[in-house]
Every structure is written in structure tokens, then in C-alpha cells.
């Protein structure tokens, strides 16, 4: 046979084998390929403003278990002593003196003496106004003075004293001024501090509120199972009821998680570069689960908080107030529990309720309200436990106790360390003051993990290019095998 003839027969064999090769490999690809998944940070990784901090679930876990460094009373007393000494040598209306007034005032508040800080800050405000300062320059004065006034007078207001209530209102007004002059300060803490003060003021007139809502307006008088399905989730009418109990609305068609992923990849997953793509990602916050201001909240006279909020907003404020304010507090624990439950973080919620029960005696003066809080926490914990494996449930309480003890031990060692250094005459303002402590201790903050990521399945058409490539290569292989076999056969047939 001629070379041409053999070539034709070989090409024919290759062509015939190519088609079933393609079909077969396409079939193999489809049967052997599972769903392809991708992951993207949950939408709360986009902060409220480009350079603000964003929330992590580990932050909530850490405040509940006291896993953060916290100064002791010795630190604040020493700082006050040094500040008062320094004040003698600087003009009373200088910027340096204004900073020292804040340090002394916050120290007094931390030491449980907010009333002593009020005249100091009133004096500071007067001096600032005499100097013609206004707007943002008065921010810390408004915020601190408002806080000290609220702290001093809230107990009287809760006891029903009308002067106490008036004073709390004055404190709230000052806090509102601080928000006006600096709306994005410190995770929006002032906003939620105002909400808490207004809520407690409202509860002083109607204590039943304390058994119906947490301070952001999450209902606490309904079982979780009922809450999920009850009519009041109708506030999600433009979204899906299925989203209740999740941290985001990703995957429901309201915000495109794939577009967010593209933007995230543009900045290499570096949150510090978010401002570069801010206009493209700010809308992602619409996918954050909303909490608070639930059914009947409209009747509660908390004017600063009328509708639901993205859950990370009050959470960051609570964490900021906890860490930089007065520490553990049953109102915060309850609110963390309710919010974490609503975003599907059942384990964090369980620990928040556990801590809340420990602090219940500080919730409200009336014992029956304290008991109602304990009962509520018990009931929520039981509901959570029903959704967890039995062996995990058995370990929840021992794990909580161990971890809280770990955090408290860390804080005690931190405070003992600073007290010893101060006693030894070390300069507390030295930036290396804590170096030795940090060398001896591992970082206390919990690592973040997969709970921060939304994992989604890529659409099936995303695998088309890969499938086509695989199909073609299978076809080429079959064509090659058939051509080679045909050419071998013809080689043998063709005698020289």
C-alpha cells in the first residue's frame, strides 16, 4: 500500500477514535468531579468606614473569657499621681493639660470614683471653651464627662430619683454631642453607650423591659425556636426567613459574594488595602445579618436606636466598652448571647449566657428580675445544647470554667507585673515597660478561624473550560492510540 493510502487509513482511525475519546473523557470528568468550592470573608470584614476596625468572632469569645490585658488599680493610681504632678508644671489650658485631665478622670472612673472626675472634666470644658476650642477638639471632654455623669447618677435614676434621672439625661446629651463632633470614633462606642443609658432610664420607669429585651432590642421573652419562626422575623420581608441564624445574607442573591471575592483578591486579601477598593466593597455590608429593635421595640423610649442594625456594629461597641470601660457586665453578656445566637454562633452564645448568669446579681436591683435573667440564660443554653453533640455538651461548662480561669489568671499576672515594676520605680510611660511580660507570655488573643469565612459552591458552568480541556485531551489520547495501532497494523500488512 502506498504511503498516502496508509496515511489516509491512519487519519481515519484517529478521527473515528477521537469522538468517543472526547465523549468518554467528558463523562469521566463529570462523574469524578465533585462540587468546586471557594471561600470569601464574611461581609462583616468590611468595616463601617474604610479605616475602621472590623469585627471578628474571636473578639467576643475573648471578652467573655477575659482574654485581654487589663490594667490594675496600681497602674491607674500611679498614672494619676504622675499626671497631677505634671499638671503643676504646665499651663492649665494647654493641650498637654487637657490630656492629663482625661487621664486622671478615666483613672478615677476605673477606680470606681466617677463622681470625683466630674468637676475635673467640667473645669476642662470651661478652659477649652475659654480658649475658643470647639467641635472635634471637645470630643474627649464631652465623651468622658458624659460617661462620668451617667456612671455617677444611673444608680440614683434606677432607684427612681428624679434628680438622678435628670443628671443621666445631661450625661446622655453630652455623649450625643461627642458623637456629633466625632461620629466615627472608637467603633461607634458612644452611640451604643447612649442606647444603653436610654434603655436603663426607660427600664427605671418600666422594669418589665429588663425581661423583654436586651439593650439593643433583641427579644428575650421568647424561646429561640419560636423566635426563629415567629411573625416578627417578617422584618426580613425583603430577604429570606432562612437567613435568620446566619451571619450573612450571602448566597441569597442580595449581594454577589463572587464579586466581593474578586475585589478581595485585587487587594491580596489585605484588609489594610480596603480603601483602594472601597467604592466596590462598601455595599457588601448590606449582606451583614441585622439584629435588635425587634417586635414592640418601637414602644420603648430609646430614641437613639429605632431600627435594626448590622450585628457587628453593637458587637464592636460592646467589645470596646468592655475592654476600655468597666469590663464584664451582665447587660453586655446578655446582648452578646442574643446576637451570637442570631448569627448562628451557638457556642459563643452559650458561654455568654454562662457568664451572664455569673453576673446576674448586677443586672437589676430587684431579685425577681435577676432570677428571670438566670432562667432566661438557662433556657437559651438548653436550647443550644439540644443542637450540639452530647459529648460536646458535657464539656461546655468545664471548658468555659477553664478558659475563664486562664483569662483571669493572665490579667492578674499582668496587673501583678505592672504593680511590681511601678514599685521598683520603672517609668510606666516607657514603651518597653511590658516587654518582659510579653516575652514570658504567649499572645492572649484567640486566633481567628474558619468561622470567619463563607464557603460557597462555584456554579457548574465555571468548570466548563476545565471540562473542555479534559475532553479534548482524552480525544487526542484515543486518536493517538488508534492511529498508532492502525499504522502498526498497516506496517505489518505492507510488504516491501
Amino acid at each position: 500500500m502506498s504511503r498516502g493510502g496508509r496515511l489516509i487509513w491512519t487519519l481515519l482511525a484517529a478521527g473515528v477514535a477521537f469522538v468517543p475519546g472526547c465523549i468518554g473523557s467528558a463523562f469521566l470528568f463529570r462523574t469524578n468531579t465533585g462540587p468546586i468550592t471557594e471561600s470569601v470573608p464574611l461581609p462583616h470584614h468590611v468595616p463601617k468606614s474604610p479605616n475602621a476596625a472590623s469585627f471578628r468572632f474571636a473578639m467576643a469569645h475573648d471578652v467573655i473569657h477575659e482574654r485581654y490585658p487589663k490594667h490594675g488599680s496600681v497602674w491607674y493610681m500611679e498614672r494619676e499621681r504622675l499626671a497631677r504632678e505634671k499638671l503643676k508644671s504646665v499651663p492649665a489650658d494647654s493641650d498637654e493639660a487637657f490630656g492629663l485631665y482625661d487621664d486622671i478622670g478615666t483613672g478615677l472612673d476605673r477606680l470606681g470614683k466617677p463622681a470625683e472626675a466630674i468637676p475635673l472634666l467640667r473645669n476642662k470644658l470651661e478652659l477649652q471653651q475659654k480658649r475658643g476650642l470647639s467641635g472635634r477638639d471637645l470630643y474627649t471632654t464631652y465623651a468622658n464627662l458624659g460617661t462620668f455623669i451617667v456612671h455617677t447618677n444611673m444608680p440614683k435614676a434606677i432607684a427612681g430619683d428624679s434628680k438622678g434621672k435628670d443628671a443621666v439625661r445631661e450625661g446622655i446629651d453630652l455623649l450625643k454631642k461627642s458623637v456629633e463632633v466625632n461620629p466615627e470614633a472608637h467603633f461607634g462606642r458612644e452611640v451604643w453607650q447612649i442606647v444603653l443609658a436610654e434603655f436603663l432610664l426607660a427600664a427605671s420607669d418600666d422594669p418589665k423591659l429588663m425581661t423583654k429585651f436586651d439593650f439593643v432590642g433583641d427579644r428575650i421573652d421568647q424561646p429561640w425556636g419560636e423566635l426563629r419562626t415567629s411573625e416578627h422575623v417578617a422584618r426580613f420581608k425583603d430577604r429570606s426567613k432562612d437567613s435568620f441564624g446566619r451571619a450573612s445574607f450571602f448566597g441569597l442573591g442580595y449581594v454577589d459574594e463572587r464579586e466581593f471575592q474578586r475585589q478581595w483578591n485585587v487587594i491580596g486579601g489585605n484588609e489594610d488595602r480596603l480603601p483602594e477598593v472601597w467604592d466596590n466593597v462598601k455595599g457588601v455590608r448590606d449582606a451583614i445579618m441585622i439584629v435588635g429593635a425587634e417586635e414592640d421595640w418601637k414602644d420603648v423610649p430609646v430614641r437613639s436606636h429605632r431600627s435594626h442594625a448590622e450585628f457587628d456594629d453593637p458587637m464592636l461597641a460592646i467589645i470596646g466598652m468592655w475592654r476600655q470601660g468597666g469590663g464584664a457586665n451582665p447587660h453586655f453578656c446578655l446582648c452578646i448571647g442574643e446576637i451570637m445566637l442570631r448569627v448562628g454562633q451557638r457556642r459563643i452564645a452559650w458561654t455568654a449566657y454562662e457568664r451572664c448568669k455569673q453576673l446576674a446579681s448586677r443586672y437589676w436591683p430587684k431579685p425577681e428580675i435577676q432570677q428571670a435573667l438566670r432562667d432566661h440564660c438557662d433556657s437559651r443554653q438548653k436550647e443550644i445544647e439540644q443542637t450540639l453533640p452530647a459529648e460536646e455538651v458535657a464539656n461546655l461548662r468545664p471548658n468555659f470554667d477553664d478558659e475563664l480561669a486562664y483569662g483571669q489568671r493572665y490579667q492578674k499576672e499582668y496587673q501583678d507585673f505592672e504593680a511590681a515594676k511601678i514599685a521598683a520605680g520603672a517609668d510606666m510611660h516607657d514603651e518597653h515597660f511590658f516587654d518582659e511580660f510579653q516575652q514570658r507570655h504567649k499572645p492572649i488573643a484567640s486566633p481567628t478561624g474558619p468561622e470567619e469565612w463563607y464557603v460557597f459552591q462555584k456554579p457548574y458552568y465555571d468548570s466548563f473550560p476545565a471540562m473542555f480541556n479534559f475532553m479534548l485531551s482524552g480525544g487526542v489520547l484515543c486518536a493517538g492510540v488508534a492511529a498508532f495501532l492502525m499504522s502498526c497494523w498497516l506496517y505489518r500488512l505492507t510488504k516491501i
Binding site: S25, E271, W322, W364, T448
Partner: protein
């Protein structure tokens, strides 16, 4: 007695509300430290266990191509003959 109870009640309440935004010279440093404590970790790898290796098509192309070349060689090696 009532006064005593009221005092205790106030003390309890004071503890309950002692929480807020205090602004002092340490705050900016604390906030920086706080943010850096929670640096993001790498995302979990996409679950591609059941996907064919990205090298598989290359191997198939290579093998198929080599066989085609071999077939061509076989054709070229034996000259045409008359039937």
C-alpha cells in the same frame, strides 16, 4: 432597713452600668494593638479533592501526541509498495 436595701440596690446597679467609652492617652495605642491581635488567617483551601489533577490533560495530550507522532513515523519508515 429600706435605706440599706436601697443602698445595696444602687451599688448593684452601679456595677451593672459601669461600662463605657473612656478616652485617655492610652486609647489609640490600645486600638492599634487590638486590631493587630486579630489579623486575618488564610482562608480554608477550596475542596478540590475530587477534581482531576490539573496535570492530567497535559499527560493525556503528551501521550496522545507521542502516539500520533509514532504513527507518522511508522508510515514514513515503510516506503510505498505496488500492490
Amino acid at each position: 432597713m429600706f435605706r440599706l436595701l436601697a443602698t445595696f440596690a444602687c451599688l448593684f446597679a452601679l456595677c451593672g452600668v459601669a461600662s463605657a467609652c473612656l478616652n485617655d492617652s492610652e486609647l489609640p495605642g490600645h486600638e492599634r494593638e487590638f486590631r493587630s491581635s486579630y489579623k486575618r488567617e488564610a482562608p480554608p483551601a477550596p475542596s478540590t479533592d475530587s477534581q482531576p489533577s490539573s496535570n492530567t490533560p497535559l499527560v493525556l495530550y503528551g501521550t496522545g501526541g507521542a502516539l500520533l507522532a509514532g504513527a507518522g513515523l511508522m508510515i514514513l519508515r515503510r516506503p510505498s509498495t505496488k500492490a
